[in-house]
Amino acid sequence: MNWKIIFTIAKKDITEARQNRSVWLPILIVPIFFILLIPLSLIIGLIVGGPDAVNFFNDPDLVTFLEKMPPVMSQVLQGLDSVQSILVLVLGYMFAPFFLIMPLMYSTVIASESFAGEKERKTVEALLYTPVSDTELFIGKVMASFIPAVGITWACFLGYIIVLNAAGWPLMHHLWFPLINWYPLILWVSPAISLLGIAVTVLISSKVNTFMGAYQSSASLVVLVLALLVGQITGVLYLSAIVGLLLGVVIWIAGIVLMVYAIRTFNREKLLVSSIS
């Protein structure tokens, strides 16, 4: 296996994806909302509104939710006033699943561009006439999605850390973020979910001939993460460090199994025949 060739394919696909507005626009817009606009609006609201703003959250559902909170989280909230508690709860806790939507979205959009997009633009044939092996081609394309998906998610997380600590300083007066449960989520679960997103997109791309078709189908995986989000908000499933680690194991296994299946079924002849039909 020639790694120079694999990196060349990955680099070319990343360059192409960067030039496609349908790819970079969602990649740009989502972090603007999740790491800038929404956190800043909440923090500014809490700073300006003070305890009055807290009353907004003081409804019976939230009270039930606080009662169900696991001991680890209760410890985190110990000693915090009501304004600080809201900040930690919403941005330090409920927001966590959004950082699983990001790698999933990034990996599916880039993989759709890389696999189905290349078929759609009919550039795949010239690529297949090169001496590159099927495995090198496959790994190159997977890396073209995996590296940016994980990299951008991590960069967004760094941005989120800065925004929360800097903007939240007037309320917290110390560096309080990230909380312990975020580490497995970001370092372990988000790469796993990127791999799963890519594997599903590759399998869908073998049946679909357009970038949008592949992206729309694979993006339905977001439902899984939305389930986690609902679980988190309703208190049914709390994404603690242990849950994060276990969740990661499940997603890694699913991603690897699907990826092995995808690589076994990936070959030049199928790719050409499916792009003709």
Binding site: I5, I9, K12, A126, T130, R268, E269
Partner: protein
């Protein structure tokens, strides 16, 4: 001369449909070999089989002495393919496209950069080398696709419909480039086309395909001799002929089409022409000119395609 491609009893199927049926032929080192046929004849399928992109249903293939099924990568390292659609990365520049493909062929960086400059210059693209390909005209894109196919100095150059989407001026330019590539470097060229004039202009030998079947194979002269649809003579007259020319007027006349001031006569051999002219003079015909009509590849092609259609009925 050694063969670089050898196909024996090759059959290929897509599902139940036979795309190629029992083909056998060879392509020699240094020749321009044209595979001629209408859309769907099996031309692109042949190129894909020869480069190991498809596995044949039956028969054997040898390209540069290797089996594409087991040595596809090694064969592709020594061939260059101009695909039917130019298959260029339009969001990248010409230089980025060439660099990408050159790296995939394993060319060392220093050699690759030099080769890129050479092909860009040869195809007159150096002034726009750093512009995105989506700003190029169709003719420029086709030249760049040709440059890509030649970047690695392939032993066999496959050209799949190289001018089908081009205007006449760009097509002429591409023909001239193909001719100069062949003269300069002695590449073996495997040309797939449905354009008869293209095959006639560029090819040393022609194979005519229809629905995956080989109808004819040979040089243009061999095909003319073998499938000659008859020698036609056109006679232009100054005024209408008073008499009538028929098959019995003189020896060797096969068919006569007579209009006011023009005669089209099919003769058996060239030596029937003087007798025809003598007979016309005998009828006081005032002859402006006598022209022997050249048999073209087009005549042969349409005759063969017609025979194939009638045979299929």
């Amino acid at each position: 001369m050694e063969n670089v491609i050898s196909i024996q009893q090759l059959t290929h199927r897509f599902g139940d449909r036979e795309a190629l049926k029992d083909l056998s032929y060879e392509v020699m080192q240094g020749e321009v070999f044209a595979l001629l046929g209408p859309n769907g004849a099996g031309k692109t399928t042949t190129i894909r089989l020869l480069n190991g992109l498809y596995t044949p249903a039956q028969g054997s293939i040898r390209v540069l002495g290797m089996d594409p099924g087991s040595h596809g990568g090694e064969i592709r390292r020594q061939t260059g393919v101009l695909t039917e659609t130019n298959a260029l990365y339009e969001r990248l520049t010409a230089r980025e496209n060439l660099r990408f493909f050159g790296t995939l062929y394993g060319l060392p960086e220093s050699v690759l950069l030099k080769k890129i400059d050479e092909v860009l210059s040869f195809f007159a693209l150096e002034a726009r080398a750093d512009d995105r390909v989506d700003t190029y005209s169709k003719g420029m894109k086709q030249r760049l696709a040709l440059a890509r196919a030649l970047l690695t100095e392939p032993r066999i150059l496959f050209l799949d419909e190289p001018t089908s989407s081009l205007d006449p001026e760009s097509a002429l330019q591409v023909h001239e480039l193909i001719e100069s590539i062949r003269q300069n470097d002695g590449h073996t060229v495997f040309l797939c086309t449905h354009r008869l004039e293209e095959a006639e202009r560029l090819a040393d030998r022609v194979a005519i395909l229809n629905s995956g079947k080989l109808l004819a194979l040979g040089t243009l002269d061999e095909l003319k001799k073998k499938y000659n649809p008859g020698l036609w003579v056109e006679v232009k007259l100054m005024e209408p002929l008073k008499g009538k020319i028929t098959g019995n007027t003189c020896r060797g006349l096969l068919k006569v089409e007579q209009s006011a001031v023009q005669l089209k006569v099919q003769v058996e051999e060239e030596d029937a022409i003087p007798a025809l002219v003598t007979a016309l003079v005998g009828q006081n015909a005032r002859i402006l000119g006598v022209e022997q009509q050249r048999v073209t590849l087009e005549d042969i092609y349409f005759k063969l395609q017609e025979n194939a259609r009638e045979g299929a009925k």
